[in-house]
């Protein structure tokens, strides 16, 4: 062990109580920093999982009005089309819907990051159970395609009934939990859907729960063929839902897809930008709030060390007279900071870890943009690293000033002052 560290350890015990106070501050600061970050990003990650599981990573909709080349050319030879990309985004005109979804899906297969694509035909209907009626949105899907781009299977498992019934029943429907409750529907009940003048009778195959109340209260899944006849759209699609292997590449992929497929393509980051920004703001504000605990314990540390320098001037003079350099003296006080920092951060990690774990088991009932039964936490080493960095900057800054003051003391002045 270095001599300076050895001396620092002895000095530490000289102001045990105020050192312990600063230490406690750092432990709590680091611990709470970790807990709040784990929570805020936990809810963010949960939200992302939910939106990816319901609306997919990228949605392709609305054909761009062709100017210099045809969709067919783009679909069959995406590389060639790159040379004729229209750069002026503002002047772009869109035609609602996807004209030839088959062509788009075929083109999508060439993208390495695309995991799956599902054609969706969307339309507004009036849903009429024997008790009540309510407006709803039907989503005509090919079940197997859609299972590949969503967590629909999981969402049905969280509700009632089974996908097998839907799979084998042409008139089968998958109804959101909130809508089903509102219409007093259970699995096996029949339901009349009305679109324009068209009116047909269906059967509830299963009730699903996404947790997103905006979805669960309006969305009804049905077979694409049935949707075509109900909505009277023999061809085309409202949009194509795309899932990706690497969800973080969605924005770049969307831009590329838009240029190549000549259809508007929106990534989940773009669609949910306001929610994602709200989560980020929450995360930053939690970090700033909790950092003040670290900051205050840093001030306490500064105070403690400044007092210690005054209290130990005689010792500093003795050390200097024995040949300890200014650098040794400042090192001793920096060591004091480092020791408290070290114990404080490790203690903070343990506290943060334990509380995060405890909170993740905490039953709460949240509904709104999503539904959760417990506090959501996200485990990330980054939260620990950032908390450590924050504590290190604060504590070491608090140690540097007293350390420099201690190093500047002139042994002659001190000894003259005390021996007189």
């Amino acid at each position: 062990m270095s001599t300076n560290l050895r001396i620092a350890l002895r000095f530490l015990t000289a102001r045990k109580r105020s050192m312990l106070m600063s230490l406690a501050g750092i432990i709590f600061g680091v611990g709470f920093f970790i807990v709040t970050q784990a929570q805020t990003s936990g809810f963010e990650q949960f939200f992302i999982k939910v939106i990816l599981g319901t609306n997919g990573a990228i949605r392709i909709e609305d054909k761009i009005q062709a100017t210099t080349f045809t969709l067919a050319a783009a679909g069959h030879d995406p590389d060639a089309s790159k040379f004729e990309v229209e750069t002026d985004r503002t002047g772009r005109k869109y035609i609602a819907g996807v004209e030839d979804p088959g062509l788009i899906i075929e083109a999508l297969r060439r993208f390495r990051n695309v995991a799956g694509a599902s054609t969706v035909l969307e339309g507004s209907v009036i849903a009429d159970s024997s008790f009540k009626n309510d407006s709803a949105k039907v989503y005509g899907i090919k079940l197997e395609d859609h299972l590949a781009v969503s967590d629909l299977a999981e969402q049905v498992a969280r509700g009632h009934g089974s996908l097998d019934d839907f799979r084998t029943t042409p008139q089968g429907l998958l109804v959101g939990k909130v809508l089903a409750d509102r219409l007093l529907l259970s699995v096996g009940d029949s339901l009349i859907l009305q679109a324009g003048t068209e009116q047909r009778r269906y059967r509830v195959s299963a009730i699903y729960v996404t947790g997103v109340s905006d979805i669960d209260k309006v969305r009804i899944y049905m077979h694409l063929g049935e949707a075509r006849s109900l909505l009277k759209k023999a061809t085309g699609a409202s949009f194509i839902q795309v899932s990706l292997f690497d969800r973080d590449r969605a924005p770049q992929d969307a831009v590329q897809l838009e240029e190549i497929l000549r259809h508007g393509a929106k990534s989940w980051q773009e669609r949910e930008v306001s929610w994602l920004n709200a989560f980020k703001a929450l995360q930053v504000s939690a970090a700033l709030t909790v950092s003040t605990i670290i900051l205050i314990s840093g001030l306490g540390m500064f105070n403690t060390l400044a007092m210690l320098v005054i209290e130990k001037t005689k010792e500093i003079a003795i050390l200097r007279s024995m040949g300890y350099s200014r650098r040794d003296i400042s090192q001793i006080f920096l060591w004091l900071g480092a020791i408290v920092l070290g114990i404080g951060t490790v203690g903070g990690w343990i506290l943060g870890f334990a509380v995060t774990y405890g909170v993740s088991k905490w039953p709460i009932h949240i509904t709104g943009i999503f539904t959760a039964e417990t506090f959501q936490v996200y485990w990330s080493i980054n939260h620990y690293l950032i908390a450590t960095l924050c504590a290190a900057v604060v504590v070491m800054t608090a140690a540097v000033i007293p350390a420099r003051r201690a190093a500047r003391l002139e042994p002659g002045d001190i000894i003259r002052g005390t021996s007189q």
């Binding site: 001599t3 000289a14 000894i415 021996s419």
Partner: protein, 232 residues
């Protein structure tokens, strides 16, 4: 490294024409007015004089704890008075042992730790060797059975003896003692003085001590009377 100005290997320590002002503004006092002095290895020099004549100030300058406003100090032929803080610090560690009037020991450390402190800084011995040497030194000063006592558990005389053991730790060429027996009774004073002179003679160290005690002064090899910042 500066070349020796005047080769004189006879001297462990030498100073010429030291001047020192203390205080600021109106209160500025010309404390040392041209002090010249030399100390030989194996010899004990006593500086005597009335209170406030500048004895301690001289000793701090010689111990490189303070810097003169004018004049030169050589430690073993090496001019130290205008060298850097780092060089003077290193010289203190290697060549100078200081005994203060008030047994300046490190609180919270044992007698053994205190004696090992200068050795740790010098770093020439292993941990075990340092501990052995510190124990031997404490035995020499009659504290062989109290090596692990904290300094607060020792009497004034015992603390002063630890301070002497510590001053001897790195086998310095020069031992400077500022009234080492100043606040001890007659019996303890005699013990401390005998200890210092005996150990110094055995090791060939130059001892410079400040004292008010005429008995002690007369037992030294040389007496330097001082008055108003000058030797007379």
């Amino acid at each position: 490294m500066s070349p020796p100005v005047q080769a004189s290997t006879e001297f462990a320590l030498r100073c010429e024409n030291l001047h020192r002002y203390l205080g600021q503004g109106e209160g500025r006092v010309h404390v040392l007015r041209g002090v010249s002095f030399a100390a030989r290895p194996g010899k004990v020099t006593a500086i005597v004089g009335p209170s406030g004549c500048g004895k301690s100030t001289t000793l701090y300058l010689l111990g490189l704890l303070d810097q003169p406003d004018d004049g030169s100090i050589w430690i073993r032929d090496r001019l130290m008075s205008n060298s850097s803080d780092l060089d003077r610090t290193a010289a203190r560690c290697e060549h100078i042992g200081f005994v203060f009037q008030f047994h300046f020991l490190m609180q919270e450390f044992s007698a053994l730790d205190n004696v090992m402190m200068p050795m740790r800084k010098l770093g020439r011995l292993s941990d075990a060797e340092m501990a052995d040497r510190a124990r031997a030194l404490l035995k020499d000063v009659g504290l062989g059975d109290k090596t692990h006592r904290l300094t607060t558990q020792l009497s004034g005389g015992e603390q002063q003896r630890v301070a002497i053991a510590r001053a001897l730790a790195n086998q310095p060429a020069i031992i400077l003692a500022d009234e080492p027996t100043g606040n001890l009774d007659v019996k303890n004073s005699a013990i401390i003085f005998d200890l210092l002179t005996r150990l110094a003679k055995e090791n060939g160290q130059a001892v410079v001590l400040v004292t008010h005690n005429p008995d002690i002064a007369h037992r030294c090899d040389e007496i330097k009377p001082m008055r108003d910042g000058e030797f007379c």
